[in-house]
Every structure is written in C-alpha cells, then in structure tokens.
Symmetry: C2
Subunit: 175 residues, 2 copies
C-alpha cells in the first residue's frame, strides 16, 4: 500500500468490534506516534493508554458524550508536555508548537492504525478538566485529544474534500 | 514502502538541490495535505504555495533567519482558516482544533514528500506578522508554519526518540 492508498484508507471510525489489541499492536501504534516530526526533537508529548471495559466506559458521558466511544479497544489520551518548549519559546512553545507536535503524533498513529486494519478517530471536543481528573494528569501536561482505536465495526465512507483550488493561493513565479 | 519504512524515511531536511518541482508534484503534495483528518470536515486550512527564487529569498532573514531556507524549491505557508470552527466551538475551535487540523495536513504533506523522494521541514519559529504582510494574508487566516520542500541536498540522519516507556502511562486493565 503506497501513501496515497493509505491516506485514503484512513478515515474517522466511530464504532468498533469486540476485538482487543495486543501489547505488540499498542507498541507499534506508539512507535508510529513518537516518530512524528516535532519541534527541536523535544518530543513534547505524553500518551495515556487506557484499556479495559470499565475504565473506557468511565469516559462516557462525563468526558465525552458519544455512546459509540464505549466500543473502543483502546483509548489513547494524548497530552502536550511542553516544559522544554515553553522554556525556550514562551507561550508560542506551549500554545502552538506543542499542539502541533501532538497533532502530528496523532496523525502518525492514525495512519499506522489504518495500515494495521484498525480504525481510529481524532476526538477534540471533550471535557479537558474532567479528563484530567479521571486520569490524574499533572498540571505540566494538557490533554488535547482522545483517540479511540479498534477494529472497525462497519465500513465508513471517506468524506469528500473541497477542490484544491478553493484552499490554495499561489505566490511568486517559477523563473 | 510500508508506513513503518515511510515514517523512518521522513526527516527534517534543511538544504535542497537546484531541482524544481512540477505542477503535478505540487498538486500531489496538496492532495495529501487536504486528505488529513480534521474537525467536522470543515477543512480549516489554507495553503500559500510560494515559488520562484526571488519570492522565496524574500523570506530570509525577516520572516525566517536560516540561510538554508533559500534553497527550497517550494515553500508552503500553511494557515489556519478557522471561521467555521470558531463559530461552532469558540476559542477552542480557533486555538486548538484549527491548529491540530493544519498540523495533520502538514504531517500528511511531509510524508507524501518523503514517499516522492523529496525532503521537507516543519518550520514553526518564524515571524507571523512579517509573513502576513509579505503574502497579504487576511485577518481571517493565521500562518502557523512554513514548510520548505525540495530534493534533499544531502542525507540527514533520523534523530533518535526517547524510549516509549518514558512518554507513556498505562491506565485501566485488560479484563
């Protein structure tokens, strides 16, 4: 599968089968996440790996409302850990670079999941404070996304994108 | 090349040959960028594609200091375009989701570049205001990264990552 095929295979999956993930599969996903590009190679991220029916059910509905979330085999709670970036770049380090780093890590994780035949979803609309309490996340980290992963329960169509020319402006001329 | 190989091939490249990119290559990179996961499929991004020696040289040193930047074949200036996300989610839409969307787009673009044998770099430490003026970027968009792309002038080693266990916490038990 080349990258064009892989990126088209990747889609937001909201519903999973009963199949659990092995430790090796979870490691493979984390290795992909941490291979992502990131500012100064500080690796300003931390991953909470949440497993087990009971612990995952505890997310719904207080942290995240969707009932489908309960079907996840694993939930990755992705946090920024921006101490070094903030020391070097101030607010721009914490509020921009660390968010970009973690988003690239999630993108990598989701692409690896797709290659492994797994589905995933980038969930940003959740209650950060409740999540922080639930997992005892220290102040030095900020949970910025929930990424449930599992075997897709059904096929999901790829959602169409705007034509390229609607989101692109050309500047300068090739000489 | 499977995804594990591709992600290891992708690295930050800071120096390019004289080879220019074709329109088809640029389109392929933009198609990869826009296939990225994004909040609500609003596609809260806009891409300025900057070509031509003169226009690219104008970035250095006012917008970005590194002299190597001049060697890029193309510079993608990636902006958030967060109107819809902000209307729906307020500040969280503009300051979190749109930054995550654009970072995933950049990650996709860099992976596609790697597959095409091209190099790229995620440049976050640049002067946003100068960049905005240089390209006449409207207030509705925010430039969040410069991504120079070209044929790598030299091999760059992949930088090592921390061991997984340093950036992961497990929660819950598989029953």
């Amino acid at each position: 599968m080349n990258f064009h095929e892989l990126m088209n295979k990747r889609r937001s999956v909201r519903g999973f089968t009963e199949r659990r993930l092995t430790d090796d599969e979870i490691t493979k996903l984390l290795e992909a996440a941490t291979a992502a590009p990131n500012a100064c190679n500080y690796q300003s991220w931390h991953f909470y790996v949440v497993r087990g029916r009971e612990k995952i059910n505890g997310f719904v509905p207080k942290i995240y409302r969707g009932e489908w979330f309960r079907s996840a085999a694993v939930v990755f709670v992705v946090c920024t850990d921006a101490g070094q970036l903030e020391a070097r770049f101030g607010g721009r380090g914490a509020d921009l670079f660390a968010i970009q780093d973690t988003a690239c890590a999630i993108d990598h994780l989701m692409l690896m999941a797709a290659e492994m035949g797994l589905g995933s979803c980038f969930v940003g609309a959740f209650d950060e404070d409740e999540c922080r309490r639930y997992l005892n996340i220290p102040d030095s980290r900020r949970p910025v996304a929930l990424v449930p992963v599992g075997e897709p329960a059904a096929d999901t169509p790829k959602r169409p994108r705007k034509p390229i020319n609607e989101v692109v402006t050309f500047a300068g001329e090739e000489e």
